[in-house]
Amino acid sequence: MASIKLEGLRKTYPGNVQAVKGIDLDVADGEFVVLVGPSGCGKSTLLRMVAGLESVGEGTLHIGDRVVNDLEPAQRDIAMVFQNYALYPHMTVFDNLAYGLKNRGHQRDEIERRVQEAAKMLEIEELLPRKPRQLSGGQRQRVAMGRALVREPAAFLFDEPLSNLDAKLRVQMRVEIKQLQRRLQTTSLYVTHDQLEAMTLGDRLVVLNGGRIEQVGTPMEIYLRPASLFVATFIGSPAMNLFPVDYLRERGSGLLDDLPEGTDIVGIRPDDLHIQAPDKRHLIVESTLELFEAAGAESHLYVRLEGNDQPTVIRTAGQPPVTEGETLRFHVTREALHPFNRESGRRMGV
Amino acid sequence: MQTKRMTLPGGWLPYALLAPQVIVTLIFFIWPAGQAFYQALLREDPFGLSRTFVGLDNFARLFNDPLYLNSMSVTAVFAIGTTLLSMSMALLMAMAVNRLIRSRHAYTTLLVWPYAVAPAIAGVLWWFIFHPSIGILPYMLDMLGYRWNHRTSGTDAMLLVIFAAAWKQIAYNFLFFLAGLQSIPQSLIEAAAIDGASPFKRFWSIVFPLLAPTTFFLMVVNVVYAMFDTFGVIHATTQGGPAQATNILVYKVYADGFVGMNLGSSAAQSVVLMAIVVALTVVQFRFIERRVNY
């Protein structure tokens, strides 16, 4: 068990391509931290630097109380689950799990015990004599987990481990990974581009963009108070609607008067546009319903607002009695407004 | 040139791993090739007692030597004949086999094994069946009124070595043509059939153009084979005769250097051959590059 501490990490590739532009991050002992961002944001590079698969360009990397910048991956006491699992195709599942232990000079009976234990935990005992090619995608994923587990490392590193699974299996494995991590209390760094996976798995999220950290926080902090336009639109599905502040001001009584200095863009989550008028002060927007999408428990309304060309999405529970083409009024309270500055991309106010 | 995204920590290890290959290459490839270049500029008497620097004189003599010029045209005839014969037979067989499904494997097996026969052995086999007094083919030709004798007729001798060299190479060409044919999508041929193209037309308008890369590749490979790998065919049978009729370039290098002890000329011939190999290799690689870019 160990904490992980990143201090001013940078990585520049030949040709002056900056993949990681100065990252500071503390991962507490036992914490599950998810690195999330679009492809090319530097999240995988960052994880691979922690693993020792990429050299650390600048900065200092601590695992536990050691500086590990120049240590071999094997010396860092970490285990990694790869996106494509990276199982050794010529070895049985048992040998795949045992290989790292053998290389570290563990005794035969110790290896046997640990492999059986990990296999039991993941319910893959009957797969042990098989070769990877005889396994389904989900089983391979479990074996890849087992290979990390069996080592009892100070930290788990996950590199998009669920992205090769179908949707149903992905949800199932997500839950299992979360439960496993709760049980083992092993410090974990998890990379994904899927914001839902990030929200549901992480104790804390690190949202990355263009090699920099946009925001660090618990999933709810990030959802409720996105620190930047990027985070606001990246986290949450359907994505947050954005309006020029002047557009709303034309419609909105004095409700917008106390927006922080510098606000010129206001974000509103699709859930915060209500058909029913609340009994609080609110502003009202008129719109035409262009498309209605019923998704069972919830519905998505694609509307076009008067005097605003941008399509807007609204999410409501159940199925409201609406028809396409009709004019609808929506109500928004002051609390639902996220103030941003377009130029800096930052959230305004404290 | 690429490596892996992540490489191993080096130190002296990569050099040690390369050492055996590099040492063998330096001692047995690079050094002798350098020697050939050097000797091509010298003239040595047959007993190795004196040597003088003669510049490019060896080359000048070579290209004024009717025997060498003859050897060049003999090589051209031999290489073109071998390539054409072997490739056309192989294409015919491959197209026939490609029509079949159940017996495809059996025919393939029956057709590919001559690849394993050494060129020298191939030469001996054909030498034997064309043997003027005991061979069976001259016996049949005699009935048709043709007196076959590769010991006295240059044409017969040339045909003999072409048959031997081509026979051995059919297997190779066949495998590549078959692979090429099998990589042509069936849907293309079906589309052409729906468009009303006759089988003959389908071949010329669809199959043949799509086989062009394979054909070109095989042409280069076959020319290289005929020029450099057929020493055994010549040496074990005609030994360049009769009257220089089958004295191809690689055989002449050997004969002039080893038997005739004319080292300067042999070295100059080596240099010319190396230039030819380099040219053919460049053609081959440029072509492979192009194919990769498709």
Partner: protein, 281 residues
């Protein structure tokens, strides 16, 4: 083809059978000839069916060889061929695997230089540099030895390139996982890379064995002592002698010389095809 007409299929089979007959003819003739007695080949026109002298011809060639030629017994020469072919094959595979491993998995100074140095051997077949190479081998005292027969032929750009190509297709994560698992360079090579390459090694083994077995010019140059004659070059000494050539016995030797590589091709056809088509791509 789109439609399969019975007549077309029949024609196809006829064509193929003619082709197969033509391909088989020389070897069929050799086998028939090798079963005849001493006088039977001289009568003009070869018998079409095997004669009754197979056993004695083959036994004679295997045990004592031809008295009119300098070549030793075929048994001895087959043994020499086997040693040479195996030494060349194993040597080529070993040094090619090691150098491809170095070129793909390490970054080091002069890497490109070494790559080209190996590449250049493609352009220098032994046939074009006969005399200087012979001199080098003579100066090193390697004439008439198995070392001289095999070592100069084991440098192989082709095998190195094939392994390089193959190593490039091995997923990056294999090395990464192995390193996280604590495997050093040579451990990775032995435990992961070699087992993954096994099909390629086997395919190349078939091709290289045939290449080694069929060497002709090289043994011709560096063996003057019949003790080291290989079967493929030894046969030539039997027919180039002046005067009477006992063709029935020569053909027995020819059949014996051809059998091992042909059997390799027939029994490992799948690997052979893979090795052939991939080395040339």
């Amino acid at each position: 083809m789109v439609e399969h007409r019975p007549v077309g299929n029949l024609l196809t089979h006829v064509l193929l059978m003619l082709g197969v007959a033509m391909v088989l003819l020389p070897v069929y003739v050799a086998i028939i000839a090798s079963t005849q007695g001493p006088g039977e080949l001289m009568r003009g026109g070869l018998p079409l069916l095997p004669g009754g002298h197979a056993l004695e011809n083959y036994r004679l060639m295997w045990q004592s060889g031809l008295s009119s030629s300098s070549a030793p017994a075929a048994g001895k020469m087959l043994w020499n061929s086997l040693i040479m072919a195996l030494a060349i094959t194993v040597g080529k595979l070993a040094i090619s695997l090691l150098s491809a491993f170095a070129i793909v998995y390490f970054r080091f100074r002069f890497r490109l230089f070494f790559f080209w140095l190996i590449f250049i051997t493609l352009m220098l077949p032994v046939e074009v540099r006969i005399i200087p190479t012979f001199r080098v081998v003579a100066d090193l005292g390697m004439l008439n030895s198995f070392a001289g027969l095999s070592i100069p032929l084991i440098a192989s750009a082709t095998a190195t390139f094939l392994f390089r190509q193959f190593f490039m297709t091995v997923p990056e994560e294999m090395l990464e996982a192995a390193r996280v698992d604590g495997a050093g360079p040579m451990k990775f090579f032995r435990d992961i890379l070699l087992p993954l390459s096994i099909t390629n090694i086997a395919a190349l083994f078939v091709i290289m064995f045939i290449y080694g077995w069929n060497q002709y010019l090289w043994p011709l140059l560096i063996t003057t002592d019949p003790e080291y004659y290989t079967i493929v070059m030894g046969i030539q000494t039997m027919i180039n002698s002046e005067g009477y050539v006992p063709w029935h016995l020569v053909m027995a030797a020819v059949v014996m010389a051809t059998l091992p590589p042909v059997l390799v091709v027939l029994f490992m056809q799948r690997l052979f095809v893979k090795g052939l088509t991939e080395t040339e791509k």
